[in-house]
Every structure is written in structure tokens, then in C-alpha cells.
Amino acid sequence: MTEHRIKSRFLYHYLHDPSAIIGSVLMVVFILAALLAPVLAPQNPYDLETVSLANFLQPPVWMEGGQAPFWLGTDDQGRGIFSTMLYGLRTSLLVGFSVVAVAGTFGVLMGLLAGYYGGWIDVVTMRLADTFFSFSTTLMAILLLGLFKERGVITVVVAICIVDWVRYARTMRGSVMEVKQEAYIMAAKATGAGDVRLLFKHLMPNAIAPIFVVVAVDLAVVIMLEATLSFLGVGVPITQPSLGMMIAIGKDYVYAGMWWMVLFPGAVLILLVVGINLFADWLREELNPKIERNA
């Protein structure tokens, strides 16, 4: 099968799968919203000059007492929910993409080495992976951040990367072990290809496909994890906009019937994660040869 045919098959399946389309549209909308936050937001909720305590706890604009430009109401500090959400989305996506990039690169490299060389590097990587998984990345991230004194986006990214890379390493290793049995790898070896050439020119491109699914799933996992950590108060500092933090603040006002502080950021978080997961689901079925489609 030619390269061209494979691509068009992907496109065909994609265009005929409504959930894949919905998922990717949601992702694109949120990424655009985050990028354009300074243009779209009526106020900068973390610029003290534009925030006034006098506007605190206002309901959304269509309810009694609500007023423009606080379309979705305000929180206990007088910050507009709509504006804070846009900026919070930036934090979510920044943490998500940074972790996927850093932990992904490191994990793929470790998986490549572990799968190809075996030996102690394989034993150490896989033991670490087993241990990290059984302790759960969420638990380890909470404990790590509990020990770090600094609070900030970088701290959160570092903590999540430390526990998250094994996800990539494990998948990559499995894939490499399969690919390295192939005849063309032996042929490359026989023609005298060096290790570096073998690893990066022959093994990596042929073993990388399963990583795409991991990237998609992991992006959703990391975004949820950041929100959870910030909700618990061990994530980003209070001076940084974050969906999880917004929900933590809003939680105390739920009992008083002020639902907008929780439901709006909650909905954005859910839609973002659902969008990514829908896309990841489609990708997984698409790349899994075991499942016959349209059965």
C-alpha cells in the first residue's frame, strides 16, 4: 500500500466518525480561546488595576444583579469568571503541552534504549515504571508537590514530568522490541549501520506509531492532574489563574446557591478533556489492527 492510500484512509475514517470530528473541533476551539485570551477577555483578572473588589460575587449577566462586562458573573475577589477561565485555560494547556513534550521526549528515548539494548537500562526503566504505576502518578505528584517548597507552573510541570515519563517509556519499549525482530533491521545491521543510525533512522520511525495514542491520552490525563493538584492547593500558586483553583474557590459558595463559580470552569475543563479523549479513542481504534471497524 502506498503512503498516499494510507493517508486517505485515515481521512475517510476521520470524516465518517462524528465523535472524532467533535473531539478535534473542541480541541481547536479551546486552543484558540487560550491563545486569544488577551483579546477575548474583557478584563485581565490578574492585573490588579482592572479588578475591583466592589464587583465581588456577581451572578451571570442574564440573572438579576448581573452586569456587563462580567458575562458569567464574578468570584469572591471581583474577577470576571469568563476572563479568569480564558486565562486558566492557558495554564491548563501550557502545563499539558509542556509535560507531553518533555516527559514524552525523555520517555520515548528511554523506551528506545531499553527496548533495543535490554540489560540493566531495561531492568531499571521497567522497574521504575512498575513502581510508579502501582503508586499511581496522581498520588506521587501530590506527595512530590507536598515536599516542594516553591509553588509555580514550572514546579507543577517538573513534578508531573518526574512521574509521567514512564508512560511513554513503557509503550515505546514494547513497540521497539517488536520492530527490532523485523528483517529490515537485521538487513540494516548486516550492511554495517551504526547504533545511532539504527536507533533513530530505522527503529524510531517504525516504532513510534503507538506513541501518538499515548500523547493524546496523556494530554487529557495531565490537564486533569494539574486541575486536581491546583484544586487541592498543592498546584499552581494562588496568583496564577487555573481552572482547578477557580473550582476550589467556588466550592465554598456552592452551599449559598452561587453555582456559577464552579459550573462554568467545570464545564470548560470537562469539555476540553472530553474533546481530547474522543479524539484519542478514535486514534486508538484507528491504529489498532486487532479491532475491525464497522463490524
Partner: protein
């Protein structure tokens, strides 16, 4: 088999040593224990006395050895904040977390398995697509949001279930339980549902995926062709082959349960270990954090090793030699 168990135990021991080493470093080098023990206004001479009395002037490996020996005897030090032994502080909170986790896991396992089987039989039927969409919601809605949404619906709007605390408890021996009073059970509903939701969705999707692969196998086609009743084919032939990964998953998710128990306990002000851990993190109470980590590691390792051994025993395909 015996060598396998032995190897597993040694591996577990190595991990545990690593964890205690990390905890020792936290305990000894994060925050100044001398300052904490002596108080803010101690003189240099007093500090030196305390340093010697507690052996803090000795080499690190001697201190680590004593730290290990103490831990083995159940002596994990004293909380910086409340000044009571840490182990008692944590164990006192243990029943609350245990009951919450037990009820949540049982719910997730039964409901997840049943729904997973139902969905796998006709994956493209409308009602099953709806269940799948629900499970997607289950893994896409973070636990903390599920908890708050449940509080909104059942405590604030419908006013039928209490939003926080453990309610009325009775003490049986050393165990303080909320399972024996109506009020305690009522308080358990929302937290348990919150904690169960994610696991339920995961187990259901795992069962469905496993069933879909097994149902396509030759031996299932044979079973159908033999004219066996559907019940037998599905439960005796197919589900059995899916049970092993599902049971393993349930066991291995224990760390995850502990993590989400922290979240759930925070939302519902449930007086468990997770709640204690977070408070200790806010207050930089290192002895409590270190002890929590060591106890959690011990529990997770024991459960993992038991699950691994059961797995090897249950599955004749796997022999570790």
C-alpha cells in the same frame, strides 16, 4: 514459582528501602529538626545539647540506621504541629479511609463488570453507545468535580444527603465505624459514589475491550456453534478469560484509590488519612508526610505482590521460571 515469589519479595524490599531512604531525607534534611525540637528561642548551647541527645550530630548512615530501626518498632517520631506520635495520628484516621475505599471499590467492581459485559455484546446498539458515552464522562470528569456536582444536586438542591463529615459513628474495639448507623451510611453515600465513579468507568471499559477481543476468538465461535445457551457462552467461556486482567487491574489501582481518596476526603471533609496528609502538607509537618508515604508504600507493595502471586497461580499460561 517459589523463586518467583522470592524474587518479587526481594524487589518489594528494594523499593521499600528506596522509599524509606527518601523519607529519611525528608525527615532529617527538610526543615531543621533541631530548631523544631528546641523551639525558636533556644540558645546555641541548648541546641548543641539537643543535637547530641537526639544523635543528630552523628554521620548520616548511623542516623538512617536508627531511623529504620525505629520505624520497624513502629516509632515514626512526633508530629511537629500536634506533638503526638505520628503513627497513632495516622492509624486513628485509618478506619475512615478504609471504609470509604472498600465501599467504593466494591461498587466500582460489580457495576463496572456488569455494564462492561452488557455493552460488549452489542457495542453499536443505541443504549450501549449511551452507556459508553457515560463511561467517557466518568473518566473525563475529574473526581473533585464529580464530588462537587453530587453535593450540588443531592445536598443543595434536593437536600436529601449530607455534604460533609462522617455522621454518627460507633466504636467497635479500636475501630471507629460509620457502617453500623443509619446516619453514618447516609454520610457515606456521596463520598463513596465520588470515589467509585472513575474506577467504575475504567473497569467497565476494560471489561468491554477484553470481551470484544475474546468474543471474536475461535473457541467462542465453537461454543456458539455447539448450541450452548448464551449465558454459558458469555459468563463461563468469555468472561472467565477477561476476569484475570480485570481483577489484576482492581488490585493494582490501589495507589490510585489512595490518591483519589485524598481528593474525596478534602471535598467531603471526611476525617481520613488523606485529609490528614493535606493538612500536614499545608503545615509542613514533615514527620506526618514521611510516615504517610512509608505506610502507603508498604500497603501498595503488599497488595501488588499478593495480586502478582494470585495472577501467576490463576493463569496457567504464565509460569515464571
Amino acid at each position: 514459582m517459589l523463586t518467583y515469589i522470592l524474587r518479587r519479595l526481594i524487589q518489594g524490599g528494594v523499593v521499600l528501602m528506596g522509599v524509606t531512604l527518601i523519607c529519611f531525607v525528608i525527615f532529617r534534611y527538610m526543615g531543621d529538626p533541631v530548631q523544631t525540637l528546641a523551639g525558636q528561642y533556644a540558645t546555641t548551647a541548648e541546641r548543641e545539647m539537643i543535637r547530641q541527645a537526639f544523635g543528630l550530630d552523628q554521620p548520616a548512615y548511623v542516623q538512617y540506621g536508627r531511623f529504620l530501626a525505629n520505624a520497624l518498632q513502629g516509632n515514626f517520631g512526633v508530629s511537629y504541629v500536634s506533638r503526638v506520635p505520628v503513627l497513632g495520628l495516622i492509624l486513628e484516621r485509618f478506619p475512615a479511609t478504609f471504609e470509604l475505599a472498600l465501599v467504593a471499590v466494591s461498587l466500582a467492581f460489580t457495576i463496572g463488570l456488569v455494564l462492561g459485559v452488557v455493552v460488549s455484546l452489542k457495542p453499536y446498539a443505541v443504549h450501549n453507545r449511551l452507556i459508553m458515552a457515560g463511561s467517557l464522562a466518568g473518566i473525563s470528569i475529574p473526581t473533585f468535580l464529580i464530588g462537587i456536582l453530587l453535593i450540588m444536586v443531592f445536598s443543595v438542591w434536593l437536600e436529601v444527603l449530607p455534604p460533609f463529615g462522617r455522621g454518627e459513628t460507633v466504636t467497635v474495639g479500636f475501630w471507629r465505624t460509620g457502617l453500623l448507623t443509619a446516619d453514618g451510611l447516609k454520610h457515606l453515600v456521596l463520598p463513596a459514589a465520588t470515589l467509585a465513579m472513575y474506577q467504575l468507568a475504567v473497569l467497565m471499559r476494560l471489561t468491554r475491550a477484553g470481551m470484544r477481543e475474546v468474543l471474536a476468538e475461535e473457541f467462542i465461535k465453537t461454543a456458539w456453534a455447539k448450541g450452548l445457551p448464551p449465558f454459558k457462552v458469555i459468563f463461563k467461556h468469555a468472561l472467565r478469560n477477561v476476569m484475570i486482567p480485570v481483577v489484576t487491574m482492581t488490585g493494582l489501582q490501589f495507589g490510585e484509590i489512595l490518591a483519589f481518596a485524598i481528593v474525596t476526603e478534602t471535598i467531603f471533609q471526611w476525617p481520613g488519612m488523606g485529609n490528614l496528609l493535606l493538612t500536614s502538607i499545608y503545615e509542613s509537618d514533615q514527620p506526618v508526610i514521611a510516615t504517610y508515604i512509608m505506610l502507603a508504600a508498604l500497603m501498595i507493595l503488599i497488595i501488588n505482590i499478593v495480586v502478582d502471586i494470585l495472577y501467576a497461580l490463576l493463569n496457567p499460561k504464565i509460569r515464571y521460571d
